[in-house]
Amino acid sequence: MAELLRDRETAPGARAFDGPAGPLARAREGLRAYGLITAMWIRSTMAYRTSFVLTALANLAATGLDFVAILLMFSQVDRLGGYGLGEIAFLYGAVSTAFGLADLTMGSMERLGRRVRDGTLDTLLVRPVPVLAQVAADRFALRRLGRVTQGLLVLAYALGSTDIDWTPLKVLMIPLMLISGTGIFASVFVLGAAFQFVAQDASEVQNSFTYGGNTLLQYPPTVFAQELVRGVTYVVPIAFVNWLPGLYVLGRPYPLDLPAWVAFTPPAVAFACLALAGLAWRAGLRSYRSTGS
């Protein structure tokens, strides 16, 4: 048996390949790991197929009912804050899709607190891939596709039923809005997770920004107080998810007398938010102290 082991010997140091360096290579490596781990979780879920089908259906039903509530409201009134059903559906569909995508890809990060508390994060730290990717992919739940599906359906309905003066820029704005919006929500998830290194129950605060923000943005800014609109524009910039780009597409006046070009800032805002969240994540990870057993 020892012979079997011996012929495997190689020069010391030549055994391990150190992996790519540099931020871009790290990001690629992270995405790759994310894909690998996600695939494992999907297969794990399939070990309990019935339970998966049931929760997926329940999920779709719950998010579906959410929009039914708005439909019911419009059976009583014609307009809400000056907006018609189609326009509301547009805002709703856009934010639901963006939030749904962020929740699908990064939503598991809110479970980080548990891993910090019980010390199981240890096992992720000894792997040669970025921890952020591993935590984001942790317990990946395909059932969260329910919200994305529902968001896209509502958005399609809105686009079909609303009169929009289409221009090439407005067409371009739709994917731009969805991608940037996903980025902004994703940054909130990462930021929330970073705080869980310090306060393991911080996920409640994060939920109020993610789930709460999602609900808020389903309605037009005109139904809310100015202070609130100002807050979600300048402080926690979730207004850039669907309001600012969305109102541009709908040809609606901006809240807070903002100039028209802010409609094109969401990618930059998303980028800034993600960079900030990334820094917070690094600081959080550095403060990790494992557990005594």
Partner: protein
Amino acid sequence: MTSDFITLDGVEKVFDVRRRTGFLRRERHQVRAVDGITFQVPRGEMVGYIGPNGAGKSTTIKMLTGILTPSGGRLRVAGIDPARERTRLARHIGVVFGQRTTLWWDLPLIDSYRLMRRMYRIPDARYAENLDRCVELLDLAALLEVPVRQLSLGQRMRGDIAAALLHDPEVLYLDEPTIGLDVVSKAKVRGFLRDLNAGSGTTVLLTTHDLTDIEQLCRRVMVIDHGRLMYDGPLDGLHEVGQSERMLVVDLERELPPLEVESARVVRTEGPRQWLAFPAAASAAPLVAAVAERYPLVDLSVREPDIEAVIAKMYADRGTS
């Protein structure tokens, strides 16, 4: 220093802990989990790292893997500062936490290995070779298709050890790898580690509370307590440090009062049988001669000191000092 694979130089880890002492009242204090440890491990060595509960063993391993950042001192593994280049270091090390599995609970064992292969980008041929070797030596063939949640503790532990070795790590850290295993499983794990160290020259650092692990595997042992290194050397040397004693058991013709001989003392009598303790470092021959000369001796035997007792004595001594 260059030939040493692992070097620690005055490494410390201090935890700030806050404790609730009353309603809303909190008290802050510091726990010096590792308090200035210095040692080197050359490539290819197999070292036992032992100490009582809370001594700082796991904390040391977590610093060696980059999970924890030292509060002070200098630490290098394969020339890498673990805390600063944790991800790069990960390719060079394998880690097994006895208390914690890295395997995928709901999936067959083999799936976890396939993930390792892709995560570490292990070349196909190398992967196949390593997997075959682990499967053979750790007796995993029948378990590969079994979901991990259905494995027994011992089977899971063997599965975890294999998972930590597929990428050919240069060093393997094991934190209590034999915890909760039965005699057969322990023997299997030990045999495997011995072959691994002898065959592929993998450096091994293991913590354990089972001294048989150390006796069977490690020429070198380090004893840590209260975050300080109390002993670093060969296992035999512990006897001297621990001032351990051997035991001469004599059967006399009849019941006698406790024997009186120099360099030994009677610690127990039971009818015609008496137990005489004498320093482990001393020879038994003169003692036997002295007893035989003066007393009606029928039979005798010498008992080697129990390493377990030596360590226990050592822990106890340090605890009171």
